[in-house]
Symmetry: C2
Subunit: 679 residues, 2 copies
């Protein structure tokens, strides 16, 4: 027997004013341009739900809102409206770095305050921010004596997709660092997904489900309840309920970017807009830039992280990279394997790492000084083996050391065999748990905010997903959080030929990725070859956004391909503007970006295994100006499946805003263009 029965009985006793199945709209609002609208309803049992329409057509059907709590009666049902308010907002803010300098933040906010009269009048607010290109909503828990602490067992938020849809997804909670291959499947066939979860409805509407401002809360995964109905699933904690908070707090924003096509998804600034403004003040010490590193040779098995005959992080080898960086205008030199501890079984525990003691053959202070003398900076490296307990003990000393040496950015790593990291549980004891748990989220945040105190920027590998927190803490420069180019060295299989065309409209919707592009040699370990042409390696610098970009290949390989290498030297990593010219998920993508430091534009286009010709209207260029287009394109016979993957043509053309270029991409190919105004 269920309460359904008793809802009727209770109705008879007038406890509810409506039968349990009756729906009543209690609030609604539309976006400023009237593209999207939200309706909030309550049923006879006082259960809250919302639905979303786009241009009048329902795209998210009635979807539940609420929580099961562990320490109190649930926040699900028994709700009645206290009040709702609606307000319109329009402002523009400036990013210290990013894909565009100025971001417009135009939305209508709908605040819905509800209470559970029967449960001591407990209150909850659901706030919707309704943009023309997406919707975010979050729950606000006020400070209230009836609910001083909140222990969340389940978040019940649902997303009922009304039409049959195709999903591009990765499983949640599996490989740490979100390094699963991106899968394509009918939405009704997906498992538990991490976000962004991108879906294309049968009518062509695209939706990306994600979250914004994931701070001190468990990561939201999405599980299918039934059919095409998704429900939030909070990453479990090893210490108790998924989320424990005290006093007033807000949840992360649950976000839906909604557009007519894939390009429209990418053009939305919803997730950044829903984050808090910069809390660090002057962040001129955060430096978008390019770097090289003692790194790829280890992936090729020609060097090792640990000390020994093949140790890569030696003083001599690092000097070679510093010299190469200085000569070619790269600001950073990353060195992995510089510190003691790599001999141990670190991938399963990581307790033996020192973050302050270099190997004897690595002269850390000397190299830091040498780099500075050449106008270059070492990039620090902290591989934790996902032993966060051990790392946090050394973190302050390690940050201090780097700051003292003038190292101003750190790549951190959390490699662990699939599953769990070791962090401090809520009871203060060490606990193995999911990276995505509230405890995990707290650590990644702490690593960044503590780093800010030393004016250090962070590039997190094997991270929790990006939710736009970089707006608030601009020293969180980038992260990995997907399969990077390293999989082409040793992946079994390597990255698929359509990987970038999928990444752009899935993982990249969350934020920058340290993709480590630019391996012009197109070769991994043991004879493995990339599913890519050389031109595509260049295009990736524009297509896959990161404020710090690696030139990942070995210096000697760059010396073999000076023409191609010129583009890598030229391309900036900080942009005044970004336009997605076209794109179909997993098929192709073309992105144009304007340099922030010059009037130059850059274009990157990538394709899957299909060769194709994509028109590129140059209407983003300044009218009336002539530009020199430096074009790096696939040769006529280029093909990622043959030795002709190296066929690259570099040519220049004079163009204007009126021109339409035809970008011919080889199978597995790409194209990169620099557009420089003529004087």
């Amino acid at each position: 027997m269920t309460i359904r029965r008793f809802a009727i009985v209770l109705t008879a006793s007038c406890l509810f004013s409506l039968p349990a199945w009756a729906q009543q709209v209690i609030a609604s609002a539309a976006s400023p341009g009237n593209v999207l609208s939200v309706e909030v309803q309550v049923d006879g049992g006082g259960k809250l739900a919302y639905g979303i329409k786009r241009r009048g057509k329902e795209i998210i059907g009635l979807s539940r809102l609420g929580f099961n709590l562990a320490n109190a009666r649930k926040l699900d049902g028994g709700f009645s409206l206290r009040k709702h308010t609606s307000s319109e907002h329009d402002s523009t803010w400036e990013q210290p770095w990013g894909e565009r300098q100025f971001v417009r933040n135009r939305y209508r906010e709908l605040r819905v305050d509800v209470e559970q009269k029967k449960h001591d009048g407990r209150q909850l607010t659901v706030v919707f921010r309704i943009y023309d290109d997406g919707i975010g909503f979050r729950y606000e828990f006020p400070a209230q004596p009836q609910l001083k602490s909140v222990e969340i067992l389940d978040e019940l938020t649902e997303f009922a997709v009304t039409q049959p849809a195709t999903a591009w997804w990765i499983p949640a909670g599996e490989l740490p660092g979100l390094e699963e291959e991106i899968r394509k499947a009918p939405l009704r066939e997906i498992g538990i997904a991490n976000t962004p979860l991108t879906v294309r409805l049968d009518d062509g509407t695209h939706i990306a489900f994600h979250e914004a401002a994931l701070v001190d809360y468990a990561t939201m995964w999405l599980r299918k309840v039934d059919g095409q109905k998704l429900r939030a699933m909070l990453a479990p904690s090893p210490s108790g309920p998924a989320v424990v908070r005290q006093g007033a707090f807000t949840t992360p924003w649950r976000t839906l970017q909604i557009a007519s096509d894939a390009a429209g998804l990418y053009m939305s600034d919803l997730v950044l807009n829903l984050n808090e403004p910069n809390k660090l003040g002057d962040v001129s010490w955060v430096k978008p830039s390019k770097f090289v590193g003692v790194w790829w040779q280890m992936h090729l098995n020609s060097g090792t992280w640990n000390a020994g005959p093949k140790h890569a992080a030696t003083t001599a080898n690092t000097k070679k990279y510093i010299d190469f960086a200085a000569k070619n205008g790269f600001r950073g030199v990353l060195v992995e394997g510089w510190n003691k501890g790599w001999e141990s079984d670190w991938g399963h525990g990581g307790a033996d790492f020192s973050f302050t003691q270099p190997y004897p053959d690595f002269d850390l202070p000397g190299l830091a000084a040498y780099a500075k003398s050449k106008g270059v900076r070492l990039i620090g490296h902290h591989e934790t083996g996902a032993n966060i307990v051990a790392y946090e003990k050394q973190m302050d000393a390690a940050y201090k050391l780097y700051a003292k040496l003038g190292v101003d950015s750190i790549k951190s790593g959390y490699v662990h065999e699939a599953g769990t990291a070791l962090f401090t549980g809520r009871d203060g004891k060490p606990r193995y748990g999911h990276y995505d748990s509230q405890e995990g989220v707290r650590h990644f945040q702490k690593a960044v905010t503590e780093a800010a105190k030393y004016k250090l920027s962070i590039d997190t590998h094997e991270p929790v997903k990006d939710t736009g927190v970089r707006r608030t803490y601009p020293n969180w420069l980038t992260r990995e959080g997907a399969r990077g180019v390293e999989y082409n060295a040793w992946g079994n299989p390597p990255n698929s030929v359509d990987h970038e065309a999928k990444l752009v409209f899935t993982r990249m919707l969350s934020g920058p990725m340290d993709y480590t592009p630019g391996v012009l040699s197109l070769q991994g370990a043991d004879g493995k070859v990339f599913n890519s042409t050389q031109a595509k390696q260049l295009a990736n610098y524009v297509v896959i956004y990161s404020p710090i970009q690696m030139a990942a290949d070995l210096p000697e390989n760059y010396e073999k391909y000076p023409a191609a290498f010129k583009f890598i030297r030229d391309v900036p990593t900080d942009w005044a503007d970004t336009r997605v010219v076209n794109g179909v998920i997993g098929k192709f993508a073309t992105i144009a970006r304007k340099d922030r430091a010059s009037p130059d534009w850059y274009v990157g286009a990538v394709t899957d295994d299909q060769g194709r010709t994509l028109p590129l209207a140059l209407d983003f260029l300044d009218k009336g100006k002539r530009y020199t287009a430096e074009i790096y394109r696939d040769g006529d016979g280029a093909d990622y499946r043959t030795a002709r993957r190296f066929d690259l043509v570099v040519e220049t053309k004079t163009v204007t805003a009126k021109d339409v270029l035809q970008l011919r991409l080889a199978p597995g190919g790409g194209q990169a263009i620099r557009l420089v105004p003529q004087l």
Copy 2:
């Protein structure tokens, strides 16, 4: 970057003997009749996996085994074989009550002892019991100083179904009491499922995934990882990791009943066989029997649970039921709404129930005595509102009271709005959590073992699922745990016409169900009608097994249909043998059962919305004997969609074991037969 990369590096340093992707068979065994076989493998990273073949064909592909722990390094990878042993077992045991008196337990056991040499030599054993009709396996944690307590974050057990398959499933963790409609979908489209999860592979093989001996552990749900690969998902605890155990312990058995058809699934005794033998000794005080009750009238809205003008549980009304029971040979009279506390908002909290104080208009001692004087027993009723904290405080006193009054069985209820029950968390504080959590499982178990001390039998409504624990504690007579007949009173919609034909091969694989059949009036509240003919109501007594069965309709309705009612009076609830004659999931099912107290056989057959004629070979009857078949069949024009749903023909025939009857079932119909040997 992931550890995959480093597995190669580590291989180079000889930490592993095989590359991570190489598989090595470390143990294998086949069932006694060589129908099913299991292979256990380890890969180069020491990860454990198993696979299952049926008659040489792989049906479960390589599937992971292991755990993520919260308080220690995971038990996943780094394993090497210590030893494996195999042994054959064949015995027969007797049930105090059940679907058959004697149960054969014939299997080959394969014990695989593994250790993690690098992790302090931690040991784990996986034990497979391989039957011809199914496989169970469990993990055994030995007492070991390196792992004194075990906190399980995730159980990683997988079930990789090799062929496309159709699933019949219900979502896990949603409606308490497992009262979801049974859904049919391609296996790849299911959400998080409770078990039994029944699937039919494209080659016709049927598999039911379930568990046996769920004691002091979290309930296993099944989630889809990807495609058709399922993984155990332990019901979350509000107090920390899903499972916390000390010292040596074993997990529940993970079970797969495997057969060529649906009938074969039902005929398997795997789940009972994998439970511990009876721990209660003499259980002659456990009484399979039939009962009536002050119950259906509340569902029809003509009575109320709480006191007032329509209060149903009055002394006078109860006497009427006692008289009716005595007159018609029913042993029990259930009375709901007898105790104080129903006025409050109990379905959301349940704190106000008294389990010892009757309403003033209900003379509990007097009625108990009156019943006994008539050879009838009151059946106790404990509705907890899922407030287990409050219930456990009163449980002992409540049991004591009933025992004193001669009440020897109790129907308990745990109605709560979807989601959570209130129980005592691991920290001793009240916690709202899932019924299926380790805490929930512990309570349901405690309610039964404590009841045994007072020789009380339990019929749990809104229970955790059955996993055969009734073998160990035979006073756990039955439970609800699915949509019962009550949904026909007020369900929106009521039970579907194919409900029973689905139940038999899904929910009923787990154990008895208090289905409350026999509503001959075929009518719910507010003019709702059953999707059933009257004949089907009779068939349900045979088709849906329970050692205690209700005659759920109002006495006055039985008086209207004396011919049909005779079958309800005759049919026993305890069986010497059971044969599934035929069945297709969701379409039809025919079951023949031999009475344990007489030489009579009973047959029940039910169909979905299709009328059909099913042959019934009577070869189960004693050869050479003549039987009188008392046949209760759908009339020729019977149809569940029309008023002719009441068309019932009762006829008798003389038959022998050589006869084959043709059972003609109307759309939505059924047939019930009693076979009595002629002298």
